[in-house]
């Protein structure tokens, strides 16, 4: 039951095959069993059970709120949740309990979804591994899959300390791991440079970054306001469309959301791609791209071609400037956004009480990790009067050029772009930490970042397994606000790709054993 897609479990709930409470309890047990993944920072067991109970009452009265009623969901710990600690995986916000909920969280709750927990991330979403938060790294569930274990010849017990476990990618690694390991049916991530799509690719799930302005950011603790978008992680494309239908639309609390009404859609079941034009950006064929991923990418292009679609090579000439441009814009906004964390109104406050200034300094030194402080430092440097023109203005101009690259390609008749999501499959943690956060982020965001620069919708679809038995994802980038077209293409592709389901039998058995044990203890 837990391994099904959201839509199927929704049907099961409606038909009474399972009750919301039962479903919630099963997810909670699995969360406990998979605690070593470190996917969750806070498991909201009590409130989740209460919400499930409410949902159950609604089902009994025949007053279900819709497809999400009773469905356990997880939310990245950088979305504000009323009464539930929201940490951003930072000492700065440890113990911070927001008095309000993010619009997207509220929309999920209003649809009857059961919030099962807050998921792990890099501190303030700054990272591409989900390794740099105060609660420790998230482990990729595929590290414990039959597929991977067989390939790398390790059959040791999953809880044994081993050095081969893999990172999830990030920064929404907790959400990706949660959906991938079946502890919830959908999760919210956030996507600033690829933070939803990157871990989705590494964890073998669907990761959707909607068009900037389509989904409210109110309550999302910002990284880069001009690029942040709430992301959606699900097991299949249809589910992503369902969740998007709930989240999208104008929010009076977020002035950057578009006013046009959004009509939720269901994706067609019969899809014809023969009239489509798929663009393959040549600049994405770069030296660091693994041969496996390249092969998967070409195969995907062939699939479209064989189905009658026009597949053409296109050029996004300013792609190579994206990383450095992103670095300037991101750090500048980070420097600004982080200025509010001064220990006065909320969050961590140092004991230093010599002066207000010394209290600020100590609070911020104790509250932020090196990555955050590094970005604040460089961002402030770029914003200095003497540097503003040279760096910030220039970066904004380059951003415009990057966005125009997409405009040009789409206006030339291309419907959707097909690219890799990541350079390669997930690497072991021990490998990953050999490079610093900045280098990693720069490498790992390379295919995903431009969609944030240009505000375009993009989705990562799990496509195939690598030689090591690990997921490889491909990315589709669509026209602004054309999520219906983007997801329709993605759904067609998903069907062709036949990505295998994560085999976690060993882990699940272990979880079952744990939950039975608990039941027998309590009875």
């Amino acid at each position: 039951m837990l391994r099904t897609a959201l839509r199927e479990v929704s049907t099961a709930l409606k038909e009474g095959q399972v009750s919301p409470t039962e479903l919630c309890q099963r997810c909670l047990s699995l969360i406990k069993a998979t605690k070593f993944l470190n996917a969750y920072i806070t498991v909201t067991e009590d409130t989740a059970l209460r919400q499930a109970e409410e949902s159950e009452k609604r089902y009994r009265r025949g007053q279900s709120l819709g497809d999400l009623d009773g469905i356990p969901v997880a939310v990245k710990d950088n979305f504000s949740t009323t009464g539930i600690e929201t940490t951003c995986a930072s000492n700065m916000l440890k113990g911070y309990i927001p008095p309000y909920s993010a619009t997207v969280v509220q929309k999920l709750l209003d649809q009857g979804a059961v919030l099962i927990g807050k998921t792990n991330l890099d501190e303030f979403a700054m990272g591409s591994g989900s390794t740099d938060g105060i609660f420790g790294p998230v482990r990729n569930p595929w590290s414990y899959s039959k597929q991977y274990r067989e390939k790398c010849g390790q059959n040791s017990h999953l809880e044994n300390e081993d050095s081969s476990w893999l990172i999830t990618g990030g920064s929404s690694g907790g959400s990706a791991a949660a959906v991938s390991s079946f502890t919830c049916f959908a999760a919210l991530g956030s996507d600033t440079g690829g933070s939803t799509r990157n871990p989705a690719a590494h964890c073998g799930v669907v990761g959707l970054k909607p068009t900037y302005g389509l989904v409210s950011r109110h309550g999302l603790i910002p990284l880069v306001n001009s690029m942040d978008v709430p992301g959606i992680l699900t097991r299949c494309v249809d589910d992503a469309a369902t969740v998007l239908g709930v989240l999208a639309g104008h929010d009076p609390k977020d002035s950057t959301t578009v006013q046009d009404p959004f009509n939720p859609f269901k994706l067609p079941s019969v899809i014809d791609v023969s009239k489509l034009c798929i663009g393959i950006p040549k600049e994405y064929h770069i030296p660091g791209l693994s041969s496996e991923t390249l092969a998967v990418w070409s195969k995907a292009a062939d699939l479209f071609e064989n189905a009658g679609a026009r597949v053409i090579e296109v050029s996004l000439p300013h792609t190579c400037y994206s990383i450095v441009c992103y670095h300037v814009l991101c750090t500048a906004e980070v420097a600004s956004n982080m200025a509010r964390f001064d220990g006065l109104e909320y969050g961590h406050r140092s004991n230093m009480d010599k002066s207000t200034e010394s209290m600020y300094a100590a609070t911020r030194r104790e509250g932020f990790n090196d990555v955050v402080r590094g970005r604040i430092l460089s961002g402030n440097y770029f914003l200095l009067k003497q540097n503003y023109e040279k760096y910030f203005i220039k970066a904004q101009k380059v951003r415009r050029l990057i966005a125009n690259d997409f405009v040009n390609v789409f206006s030339s008749g291309v419907d959707v772009l097909l690219t890799p999501t990541t350079l390669r499959d997930a690497v072991p943690y021990v490998e990953f930490i050999k490079e610093d956060n900045r280098t990693r982020s720069a490498q790992d965001d390379i295919f995903t970042q431009a969609a944030n620069m240009s505000g375009l919708p993009a989705v990562s679809i799990p496509t195939a397994l690598s030689e090591k038995g690990l997921p490889i994802g491909l990315q589709f980038v669509g026209r602004a606000f054309q999520e219906l077209q983007l997801l329709t293409v993605a759904k067609w592709f998903e069907k062709q790709a036949k990505f295998p389901i994560l085999q976690l039998q060993e882990m699940l058995d272990h979880a079952d054993a744990l939950s039975h044990q608990k039941i027998s203890l309590s009875s």
């Binding site: 927001p98 002035s255 950057t256 600004s336 109104e345 207000t356 600020y360 009067k385």
Partner: protein
Amino acid sequence: MAAPMSGGGRLCRLAWRRRAGALHSGAQPAALGREPGKVAETQSGVAPWRAVVGLEVHAQINSNSKIFSGSQVQFTAPPNSLVSFFDASLPGTLPVLNRRCVEAAVMTGLALSCSINKKSLFDRKHYFYADLPAGYQITQQRLPIAVNGNLSYTLYVGAKQSQMVTKNVRIKQIQLEQDSGKSLHNDARSQTFIDLNRAGVGLMEVVMEPDMCCGEEAAAAVRELQLILQTLGSSQAIMAEGQLRVDANVSVRHPGEPYGVRTEVKNINSLRFLARAVDYEIQRQIEELENGGTILNETRAFDYKLGCTIPMRDKEGKQDYRFMPEPNLPPLILYDAKSLPANIDDQQVVNIDWIQERLPDLPSVKRARLVEQYGILPEHSFTLLNEDGLMELFEDVVRKTQMNPKKVIGWVISELLGHLKQYDLTVKESPVNSVSLADLLNLLERGVISSSAAKQVLEELWKGEGKTPLQIVKEKRLELIQNQRELDQICQAVMEGHQEEVMEIKAGNKKVLNKLIGLVQRATQRRADPILVKQILEKKLSQ
């Protein structure tokens, strides 16, 4: 009436000279109204100093809620009772622009003859301060809502302050921004308390070009701005409540030289202090320079107790504000009748033309109308507008009486306002309202009482005992003697008692007639109409 801006320096330039002890005795501007060319030839032969004064005026917008949040705006609320999540900068909260604040700024811009930018932008200005919770202020640094305006104001010059001069100051721009909270320092406990009620209240920053040259001019310009804001209702502009705060940029130079280094005197909250602070700062800079010193580009505060400016501690010192576009607010787009898109919800847009059409009469227009409609002097029109409610009272009295407005104005300004000033009362607090004043003036106009009796009645009315002027006249028996025969007899008696004077008049010394009139007045306890008395006496004398 407006004096031309450029080249019109004949009356609007001040020459400053260092005056010994000026710093301690309270600086005063030097004599006004000299030709700049003549000023150069002073006794000492040293070139005179010219002061250059520019202003930044922060006016709190008169709106129910704050500029980017739904919190109420109220001056007297208990500390931290009007603070939304956004105002406290809780992470994840976003600004939502208050339409009313935009309209107030557009209205103000139009009233100051600015061009209104159809597209303006918001920026973040960063600095760490305890009453600035986000660590930055949202303002309009790059592209403000209104630019290139003009404000004309009037001040009195000359030895007796009797000459009225109209001057202009260019308005560089009006920008929308957030107010900060308030810090209350407790030095004894070395603690700072923060009140965020004011944090996020909408401000219009009106930036005036350095077209002024002394404290008095600065104060007159701000006073005119204050009247305009109050007329528009875009700000209540009560300085004592911090709704209008002024930063003055001051520098001095010799004529023909480039601008000197300027200092900024911040947060001045009364017109009197503004004039004093600017004049002090001018004198201080002159003294400093003449003693071979230099002026630092620094921020100073005005200490009203000591009457001087002092350098401020670091807060606004040499800082790099690291301006950056506010990413959470899209460009602010305004429309006019031409550009207004069809089928758009009126509540979603601000239409400049619509606001222009509904602009109330500005003080300058009101003054011109008063002068034209009632034939009063221009300076009287200024007085009427300067006192809140006085114009309304005057017009009310004019409507209710048959008296010529030119006479009414004398009663309103010399008698009524004079009295109010003496007792430090506002027009609203006046015990004499328009009805009783009109009744009184009607009694005078109809010849029931003399003008000196009217003043006596007014004295009684100030007591605020609720009596009507007519009641007072009756009680005090102040009516003029209307009975011709009675007056005749009194005049006869006076003439008989003063034969010497009668002889003198008959001999041709007509001036003595006034003495006889005075004597009749005394005999009637001033209840006789002097004109009538004169006629009777003249008739009798010619017999």
